[in-house]
Symmetry: C2
Subunit: 354 residues, 2 copies
Amino acid sequence: MLFCEQCTRVHYEVVPVPVTIKDIARAARMSHSTVSRALRNHPSVSAETTARIQRIAEEMGYVPSAVARSLKTSRTRVIGVIVNRIADPFFSRVLDGIQDVVQDRTYSLFLASANYGLNDDQAIQAMVERRIDGLIICATYMTREYRERLDRQGVPSVLVHNRSAEDAENAIYHDDIFGGQQMTRHLIDLGHRRIAYLGNAHAGRSSHERLQGYRMAHAEAGLSVREDYVLEANSGTAQSGAWGASTLMALSEPPTALFCYNDLMAIGAMSALQKAGLQVPGDWSIVGFDNITLSAFVNPPLTTFDQPKYRLGQQAARMMFDLLDDDSEAAPRPGIVILRGSLLARESAAPPAE
Amino acid sequence: MLFCEQCTRVHYEVVPVPVTIKDIARAARMSHSTVSRALRNHPSVSAETTARIQRIAEEMGYVPSAVARSLKTSRTRVIGVIVNRIADPFFSRVLDGIQDVVQDRTYSLFLASANYGLNDDQAIQAMVERRIDGLIICATYMTREYRERLDRQGVPSVLVHNRSAEDAENAIYHDDIFGGQQMTRHLIDLGHRRIAYLGNAHAGRSSHERLQGYRMAHAEAGLSVREDYVLEANSGTAQSGAWGASTLMALSEPPTALFCYNDLMAIGAMSALQKAGLQVPGDWSIVGFDNITLSAFVNPPLTTFDQPKYRLGQQAARMMFDLLDDDSEAAPRPGIVILRGSLLARESAAPPAE
DNA sequence: CTGAAAGCGCTTACAG
DNA sequence: CTGAAAGCGCTTACAG
């Protein structure tokens, strides 16, 4: 029974109190210093003592306190991750990649959602208070200002697929120029000459780079780009895809192929065309980008670009550990990793009708 | 410069050292006790002192250490969550619901992946070492043994949609009997009499309960269930759906409607039927379950059951906080929350052809 | 090989 | 209203 200043109430303890090294020390008739060392197999403790202490700890159900250890060592072995939304089909797969590498290294993961900018502050603050060893940012809108705050606190950070192009240190990107070029070249190779691109204004850099690849593929093939075929929706949803398709259908000379910023938009566009009585790929060829799980199961299966989402996550975590492991006196060396995916030809793109 | 026993090397400090309450105390010429109280707006500190100290803390860029606070208070304000796989389309949405409630209460989230049973031990161990205040388990296979281990450590746990039916305390389930009944009744109402159910052996309880609902709907309508229409695949993938559809197509008298355990299977089944030249919903009606994002964008849009995934997560978090807030002397009261979703009629189910 | 001591950054009962 | 002291559960330089 104890009295508490904070809530001015009397409390009765009911929860089991965890075993500490002191409890083990008492049981083993050793000092807690020796117990501490024995539990971590420190070479200066004799083999018998180590064995005996570990057995007792096991029997007593001892689980070390990472909290106490962290306070002493000033390392938490926790990596923080900030995402916009956990259920984002792209970033949730990236998270899997991060989690697996982090778990392999016996680190843990702190997760916070930035809610597309609404909770940036709160998320960062919570991470810094918890003294995470490093932060991986999968929140596309997070800006330089936040990174500076992290730098000031001595928290290394890695950016994954950030929308801003300005941040050029410790970042993982996907090669969107290459991807855009591959998709467009595929449509050109099939015989298309009137090819549209439907971008996503919210995506920033990655949409611009896919467009850049689209232009490069045209230039390579000696084709010029018709600017009325280059559209930009204000979101990356299926609804935006439908909007894009409708806009293009209304043109006096509509395209025969459409390259959408992402799969969701491509699927929305396909729906809209089919509702209007058009055949895909008979009348229009449609290609997406990302290779989300279900792109394989729509009808027709979507030709898309397989972004290495899981590998992006793995690389991000590895870059983080490189920063943490770096015990040279110099500042951690900055870096950018750019990964390439590959074209995934399925059935939504075919030669044009004529 | 300091020497380290562990790695027997000399280290040079390069990282910025965080500001502590002692630093603030020195700057403010106050004791660190007073600083501590002032920072938390303790009423016993004078208003001027509080204001002055908070200003100084702000100027010095102070960020409190949750690690130190946790050690002292033996509460971390961290909720752990274990999932099978982060990118799981069902649980990632549940996670969103958990995260939002947890963040609202200014708690943080620890996330670990159980990898479908492969890392159960490691995940639990990490959580207990970090002294999380409570654990929400979204790992379908996790058994009673683990909960007992948690109970012994005094860590309250909440189960979300666990596959085993044995665990009956502090769990959130979806009412799968009701859901299965609704879907089947819908098909019966459309005029179908030969209706198949394709279950998922890996899903355990939830698959059995959907089947139970299917049987109830038949009984209600005075129809008998044909046992050759009741199948069970060994996974919940699109491939399994295709397998189920093929198996049923091969029957001498195939069904006219198919209720699949989940959307992924329904989409796989639909693909298989369309590949075989059959029309959905002309020749076969197909319905799924879950309402995953893309079920609205397949062709035809899938009739499904809208599971309240986000709400499941919210409820789980709320139940956790109920357990934590409970300061009665009695053991936390156990509970089960069962949520109901609703039928979402789209276009993949229609009256049978004949 | 082992132990006593100090300290990581906080909170809080107790004394003034 | 403020401060000195103890302590949360560990790690580790130092002394024996």
